[in-house]
């Protein structure tokens, strides 16, 4: 199953490359597809929904995680959220959204945010709980208010774990944004899903583009994590 298609496969990569650079006629005829402008359009759509959904997820999950983690409450909820979130099939979520609630950018972003909240909530909670207790105790004893302890002591020290959650959330969101075309929002995933329109070349091109986008965003977030991690922590690792 592997050997014969190999010679053929190199050719297919070439076709995919071509697909990105030059608009061509659709598989079923009629409309023109591919080419830089369409690629850019779908890519920016994917980026747009990803950024929006990730932003919403962070805005909602981070403060709750910080508060629960600081006061040590709601452990069951915070940890179970992570477990539950993992069990939800993204496909079913998107399908149900499309079927029951309706399509549209807003609904999509909400659905994606729902996927992103559990890992951020769980990791923020766990990260806060894992901060060295003696640092927190001395902070309290020196007269810091709860808000000051959270922002000046616990949050900086929990950054690595929290960012781990953000990165996991972004992976989930990007993956689901890829199948958003099922719900009518055209992202890069459309190249992959609608084979009859874009052909095998388009499918492969889409796959590569999505992979590239995912890797780039991951790299970006890794950089953000590095930048946000306090120097004192990095020194500790050494």
């Amino acid at each position: 199953m592997i050997a014969p298609p190999f010679a053929f496969s190199l050719g297919l990569f070439g076709d995919a490359f071509n697909f990105v650079l030059h608009p061509q006629e659709a598989q079923g005829g009629g409309v023109m597809v591919g080419g830089p402008s369409q690629v850019l359009e779908l890519a920016s759509k994917q980026l747009e929904v990803t950024v929006l959904a990730l932003g919403v997820a962070i805005l909602l999950a981070l403060p709750i995680g910080l508060l629960l983690g600081h006061f040590g409450r709601g452990e069951f909820v915070a940890v179970s959220a992570g477990n539950a979130g993992r069990a939800v099939p993204e496909l079913a979520l998107i399908a149900l959204m499309a079927a029951a609630v309706g399509v549209g950018l807003f609904n999509l972003v909400v659905a994606l945010a729902i996927l992103g909240i559990p890992p951020i909530l769980t990791n923020t909670f766990v990260g806060m709980r894992q901060v060295d207790r003696s640092s927190v105790e001395s902070a309290k004893g020196m007269g810091m208010t709860n808000r000051e302890i959270i922002t000046k002591v616990e949050l900086p020290l929990a950054i690595p774990t929290i960012m781990g959650g953000v990165r996991t959330a972004s992976i989930n969101i990007i993956a689901t944004a890829t199948i958003a075309p099922l719900a009518g929002i055209l992202t890069l995933g459309d190249f992959i899903i609608s084979r009859n329109v874009y052909g095998d070349a388009g499918v492969l091109a889409g796959a590569v583009l999505v992979a590239l986008m995912a890797i780039s965003i991951e790299g970006l977030l890794a950089g953000v994590q590095w930048a946000l991690t306090p120097r004192g922590l990095k020194v500790q690792r050494a």
Partner: protein
Amino acid sequence: MVTAVSDVSRVAESSSPNGATASTVRYSGVSKRYPGADSDAVHDLNLEVPAGEICVLVGPSGCGKTTAMRMVNRTVEMTEGDILIGDRSVKDGDAAKLRREIGYVIQQIGLFPHRTIGQNIATVPNLLDWDKARTTERVSTLMELIGLDPELADRYPAQLSGGQQQRVGVARALAVDPPVMLMDEPFGAIDPINRARLQNEFLRLQAGLRKTILFVTHDVDEAIKMGDRIAILRKGGEVAQFATPTELLMEPADEFVEDFVGADRALKRLALMRVKDVDLWKAPLTHAGDPTAPVKTELAGAEVPHPLMVDGENRPIGWLSDRDLEAEFVPKVPDSIANLKIDADQTLRDGLATLLQSGALYAPVVDGRGRLTGVLSVEIVSDFLSSPVAAEADIPAVDRPRG
């Protein structure tokens, strides 16, 4: 690492929040019962810590000493009673605000790993919005004071040794020159050698700063070394005895205190005295070439069995044996050279140890320049141990001899 006392007082004068010097701390009927517990962690505590003194809270684990200390800055809230700092109740006002005016040192130190040493020390000044210049100056003054190279200010806690971290913890607590300090086993996590060093340096600091300090430890030897007054607590948070170290050692209130202080409590007293502070024996003195007759007469009524030959500067050379005394004049070299000499500034305990180790019953005591001040004997030590408590009050911890 010796800082002149004048430097220390310079630190003390700058930046007191209300210009106040140390205040008294008074516990008044204080109790603490944790929810769900069937007995008090601290029960009806009444204690007054005089201003400028170190009060050590000591006892077996579970006796409530840490709980009692933490009620002063309300990191634990009391269920009954009140604590007054000066004449203000700690319950007046906001807890966070109160804590900013009290120095707080815990056993695990709790430095912030994500901040530099300088930033750690500047924590409370920053919370109080001091201006940058003042804070920076304060940080370097404090670092010098506690014996840390000011260049370390930009390092991170992970880059410092345990002993250095401990010093930073103390500096951090001293940052705004608070009148009261709470210290919870601050030297507990350090090895014995460095612990002794840190204790001595802290006492030196306190000599200049004279803060009111509540110090918790489980080690009775540390309590005796560091405390002006010691409160021994029983399980259940009751005070078994509140007294000066000497009173504690000489007159333990009950069996519990006796056991806790230890069977060697008499010997422990020896650490509280310096050799020069006891009445030393006087030896008949003579020089090379002096006639032996006067010295022989003196010997009759002396406490020491042999005369001591000294040089022109009064430095001991050796003991004259009976054979030496048979001559008309004192020989140049005595029969028994005085190889063993005891430093007058040593503790009585160390002096005794020196005697015992060489098997001698007595030895000459010399000052910093080697000049004779008297003779110490094992008999003097045992007389001291069986004598009643000295009429003068206990020497303050900061002035005590340090081992």
